[in-house]
């Protein structure tokens, strides 16, 4: 037990100034207090009923499970924070198989000294994202590590959902299928990089982080046949398409001029030496569907708030040696490589 630890670290009024203590992770009473005073109020109605295992009832036939770690630096960025990111990312992950998300569970690793108002803020935004997505945060856990052993806050998020109808699967992708994206490319990655270490990109880009499972489910409810979906987290559209093509053993040819990219993101990419398709989104999906369905899908998406910039960006062709290519207006084809990590870690 750390010296100087008292049984009551703060009063509700003091939350604004208090910080996470190492003892919040090890002292049962303090831990309970953190839950009652900070976590539960921040999560609100979608939060867990207790600080432990949740029990949910359902008649679902097929369950979907997903889990992801979130280590974004910095944890607060234009358009969102790590709380919203963890819930959105997990929900979107479930939706890639066509699952309706039901509940998520969050495991937080807090660095000693994290201001409690930051903790409260990120949890409130996690709660808002959960309400948007119509899911419950069924379970939550917190751990505290010494200063320097973590960078402010890391989140491990897991989610469950159920699948109505046939799960989406990259194996269903066929030559002639069309690739759509539901929003503009690269917003999240650029928003995060723009906050890094005194970098002044001179552009106002907000992260697109949002739960967009409703777009996938809504399309299916509207009668659009989807073959596969992939989120654009991590390595952006390029990584998503490489993943899908590897499973499907097909090739995708993108139309460079059709890619929806905000001018500010384009400028930032130009400065950083990146292509927009390498940069992550957290509220954007790549969808693969039969060409005959594409127009209806785009039309439906355009009527949704989070699908306003949806666009048809490419076509599936029979497998070539190159998995993903991008064709410019003159007809030249560039290889879109699988993004290799290293230069820009911790985007999500």
């Amino acid at each position: 037990m750390t010296a100087g630890c008292t049984s009551r670290a703060f009063s509700p009024e003091q939350v604004a100034d208090a910080r996470v203590l190492l003892a919040h992770g090890s002292d049962g009473a303090l831990h309970r207090e953190l839950f009652d005073m900070v976590i539960a109020p921040a999560l609100g109605p979608v939060g867990p009923s207790g600080n432990g295992c949740a029990v949910e009832e359902t008649q679902a036939r097929a369950w979907a499970f997903a889990t992801d770690g979130y280590v974004v630096r910095p944890p607060f960025f234009p358009g969102g924070d790590i709380g919203r990111l963890a819930v959105s990312g997990t929900v979107n992950g479930l939706a890639t198989r066509g699952a309706r998300p039901a509940s998520v569970a969050l495991g937080l690793v807090l660095e000693e000294g994290l201001p409690l108002r930051d903790l409260s803020r990120l949890l409130r935004s996690a709660s808002a994202a959960a309400q948007e997505a119509g899911v419950r945060i069924a379970a939550i856990d917190t751990r505290v590590v010494e200063r320097g052993a973590a960078d402010r806050v890391f989140v491990q998020a897991s989610g469950v959902g159920w699948v109505d109808g046939e799960p989406l699967n990259a194996r269903r992708i066929r030559p002639g299928d069309v690739v759509l994206v539901t929003g503009t490319l690269g917003d999240h990655g650029i928003a995060v990089l723009g906050e890094r270490d005194g970098l002044r990109l001179g552009c106002q880009v907000e992260s697109d982080v949002a739960p967009v499972a409703s777009l996938v489910l809504g399309l299916r409810l509207a009668g659009v046949e989807l073959h596969a979906a992939h989120d654009l987290a991590g390595g952006g559209l390029a990584a998503a398409l490489h993943d899908l093509c590897a499973v499907a053993d097909q090739t995708v040819v993108l139309e460079e001029d059709a890619l929806p990219v905000r001018p500010a993101v384009r400028e930032a990419c130009d400065l950083l030496g990146l292509d927009p398709w390498m940069v992550a989104n957290e509220g954007n999906m790549a969808l693969v569907l039969p060409a005959a369905q594409a127009d209806a899908a785009v039309q439906w998406l355009h009527a949704q708030a989070r699908g306003a910039h949806a666009a048809r960006v490419g076509t599936v062709v029979a497998s070539r040696r190159q998995r993903v290519l991008s064709r410019n207006a003159a007809g030249g084809e560039r290889i879109v490589p699988m993004p290799r990590g290293g230069r820009f870690p911790r985007i999500c």
Binding site: L271, L272, R321, Q322, G332, R334, G342, R343
Partner: protein, 768 residues
């Protein structure tokens, strides 16, 4: 050469079996052998086999010796004998009158495939002669000219192993093939208007009095059209080179800004009217490889300004197919003849692809029905003081082998990223492929796979070693493990150095001076101004250009001013960088962003590239604006500087202070004098002199201090005349040997030869 000659008892008749290796197929060697044997009254036969040509002759020993001597001394100009094995035994009875037999596949596969050969003077005369049956026939060829590498599908070389196999020779062609006195005796590419392939135009041109396709194309061009013409190794985009309107439209459609467009002229006289030619230059234009020669434009040249807007030089070539000969004779004006490709893509070579991809670029497509099996861009050559140096080694040269001094294990070398080539080895031969383009484009990647498979299959090779660049994002690295052999990663600049060592057969340690734009070292670090001490097995980096960072990495280096900011920040400090950045005519936000990248270190990669450094200098001298550059900024500095000449030495920074101090001194002078555009040329020359002097002194001092007698210099910057002449002068003054590339480009097209040399040395080292 090994000769086992039995003593002939009593001077009796002998039967001599001769296996001739080298460039002996598809170059008229068989008919030559036939005529020689017939002339000497020898009996026997000759045939193509996989390793070369096999001859069996019987006759008096003296006659046989004469035959052998004249076989090696009088062989056709294009042919080359690399080895001749002969063994004698007593004559065993009549072999019958000498004849040419059908070729036969052997298990030992080593025969080189001939490169494509420009139309010979005899064939050119035939197509211009109204009395000849091949008058204006655009596929005329003979034993010493015509398509070879681009049409060969398998070995040994004969018609069924070429894309001419669907065209059955007519009776008259067949009788030429059978006639030992004919230039087309046993020709595999023989055809005529009756039986051969044909040209046509899509869409059909407007009706005209023109009597054949060539004349129709000439009229379209004279009318200002842009025409895509299928040639030997792919399509060219063609228009009148003296019509500014046509050239600028072509440039716009091809999205090619800045870079000179190659021009084809009818003959040497027409060439002389456009450019200055030396005797070597004239000889090179007439060479059977018919490369594009880079030559100095005449002030009075009739070329449209858009042909080579930024350059004092222009690329020129003479007709290399009958179609080109006829077209140039009809048009009587110079024609732009640029590869039909789009920004680094591989050249378009098949009809379907041309219809799909060139319809928007060209007004008309001129197609023919002889399939191009291997697409092959034009070769480009520059004349240096040492002689011709390939800038791009492709049509007319590929796949002629670079012959090394000793046998190599079977090696596949996969090359680099841009200006890619691949290579395979067989015995002492290194077969370096044609230019494949930028492997980051889909079509070049397809050409890469096709060429690797084709070359391995041609000679039935199973590579023991697979050499590739260390860059994990290069196509070669990604596929190196697919070929079964041992994969050996070769550092980019080590391969450059080894390419020169391979050409000159050097095995002892050398000092390698490797100067280029960039080569992979690690994800965050690229090299490009390296002094390497070592041999083919390994190296030690003993000096380099001072390191600085590129904001935005290699992609950011398209903007020379951003490179300049990185250079200033890391060598003169943030204040100098900020102050100069304030002068750049870019937005405040963009300038601030670039500075913040250097300040935070985010998205910056380190480099020791000489090319990038020269880019930065060019920007500070004021030779580049704030937009991305199509032509390398370093090239602008080189052009502004003019020809290398003596610069007042005391004004130059003392190279003994070391690279960092020299670069700092250059930057300080550029900052103080670089504002005045009137000063640019003098400043560019001074900068070139200062840097070249440092490079040359560093090279010679390092060689001296390590007791090395040979300096090896390679990399794309070796085309910079200032660097080249400084190295040459310094080596001469210090009595050191300076070795340079002669057969493969010093740029990335030559990497495969170096990779082969390193891989074989490494494998040998590990076996021992």
């Amino acid at each position: 050469m090994q000769n086992v000659k039995a003593a002939a008892p009593g001077g009796g008749r002998l039967r001599r079996r001769m296996l001739v290796k080298g460039l002996v197929q598809g170059v008229g060697f068989l008919p030559f052998t036939y005529r020689l044997a017939a002339e000497l009254g020898l009996s026997g036969w000759v045939r193509n086999v996989n390793p070369g040509v096999l001859i069996l002759v019987e006759g008096e020993p003296r006659t046989l010796d004469t035959f052998e001597r004249r076989l090696t001394s009088e062989l056709p100009a294009v042919a080359r004998i690399d080895g001749l094995q002969a063994d004698d035994r007593p004559a065993r009875g009549p072999l019958g009158s000498f004849r040419v037999r059908r070729s036969r596949a052997w298990s030992e596969p080593a025969v080189p495939v001939a490169p494509d050969l420009a139309t010979c003077p005899e064939c050119a005369r035939e197509i211009a002669d109204p009395r000849d049956r091949r008058y204006r026939y655009p596929f005329t060829s003979c034993n010493v000219c015509g398509p070879r590498y681009t049409v060969v599908t398998q070995l040994p070389y004969e018609r069924t192993g070429t894309t001419l196999s669907p065209f059955q020779p007519c009776a008259r062609c067949q009788s030429e093939c059978d006639d030992p006195q004919s230039r087309r005796f046993h020709s595999q590419t023989i055809s005529c208007p009756e039986c051969g392939p044909a040209f046509w135009i899509e869409p059909s041109p407007p009706p005209s009095p023109a009597h054949d396709v060539v004349a129709e194309v000439a009229e379209l061009l004279l009318g200002g059209s842009i025409v895509a013409i299928k040639g030997l190794g792919g399509f060219h985009l063609t228009c009148l080179a003296d019509d500014e309107q046509a050239v600028s439209v072509l440039r716009r459609r091809k999205r090619r800004e800045g870079k000179p467009l190659p021009v084809m002229v009818a003959d040497l006289d027409a060439a002389e009217r456009l450019v200055h030619l030396t005797p070597t230059g004239r000889a090179l234009l007439l060479d059977r490889a018919a490369p594009i020669l880079l030559a100095r434009k005449r002030v009075t040249s009739a070329l449209a300004p858009s042909v080579a807007p930024d350059s004092p030089d222009c690329g020129l070539m003479l007709p290399h197919t009958p179609f080109h000969h006829l077209l140039l004779a009809d048009v009587r004006r110079p024609l732009v003849m640029t590869s039909a490709n789009l920004g680094g893509d591989a050249i378009v070579s098949c009809n379907e692809e041309a219809r799909r991809r060139l319809s928007g670029l060209a007004d008309y497509l001129v197609l023919h029905d002889r399939h191009i099996h291997v697409a092959c861009d034009d070769s480009v050559t520059r004349l240096e003081a040492e002689g011709p140096v390939p800038v791009r080694r492709s049509r007319g040269y590929a796949p002629s082998p670079i012959v090394l001094k000793r046998d190599l294990p079977p090696i596949l070398a996969l090359g680099g990223l841009a200006k890619a080539t691949v290579a395979v080895t067989c015995g002492r031969n290194v077969f370096v492929s044609q230019h494949l383009g930028d492997l980051r484009t889909g079509s070049a990647a397809e050409a890469f796979h096709h060429t690797v498979e084709h070359l391995l299959r041609l000679w039935d090779l199973r590579p023991e070693l697979v050499a590739h660049d260390l860059d994990p994002s290069s196509l070669g690295s990604m596929v190196a493990h697919q070929f079964g052999g041992r994969a050996i990663g070769v550092q980019h600049h080590h391969a450059h150095m080894a390419s020169v060592m391979a050409e000159h057969g050097v095995v002892e340690p050398v000092l390698g001076v490797c100067l280029d734009g960039s080569g992979f070292r690690s994800d965050d670090e690229s090299w490009g101004g390296e002094f390497l001490l070592g041999d083919a097995v390994g190296f030690q980096r003993v000096a380099s250009v001072p390191r600085f960072r590129l904001p935005g990495g290699e992609a950011g280096a398209r903007y020379a001013w951003r490179t300049a900011v990185g250079l200033l920040w890391d060598l003169l400090g943030p204040e100098a960088a900020r102050e100069w950045t304030g002068r750049v005519r870019s937005s405040q936000a963009e300038r601030d962003a670039v500075l913040s990248m250097l300040e935070s270190g985010v998205a910056c990669t380190g480099t020791t590239s000489l090319g990038r450094m020269l880019d930065g200098f060019a920007a500070i001298v004021g030779l580049c604006d704030h937009s991305p550059v199509q032509v390398q900024a370093a090239l602008r500095l080189e052009r502004a500087a003019g020809a290398p000449r003596a610069i007042d030495t005391p004004s130059l920074p003392d190279p003994r202070q070391g690279g960092t101090e020299v670069v700092r001194a250059v930057l300080r002078r550029l900052l103080s004098d670089g504002r005045d555009p009137a000063n640019a040329a003098a400043l560019a020359a001074w900068t070139q002199a200062a840097i070249s002097r440092w490079v040359a002194l560093t090279a010679t001092e390092l060689a001296a201090c390590h007791g090395i007698g040979q300096i090896v210099a390679s990399g794309g910057c070796l085309f910079n005349p200032w660097l080249r002449s400084a190295l040459r002068d310094a080596a001469r003054a210090q009595r050191l040997t300076l070795l340079l590339n002669r057969f493969v480009p010093p740029g990335d097209g030559g990497l495969t030869l170096g990779q082969v040399y390193v891989a074989s040395a490494v494998a040998e080292g590990t076996r021992r």
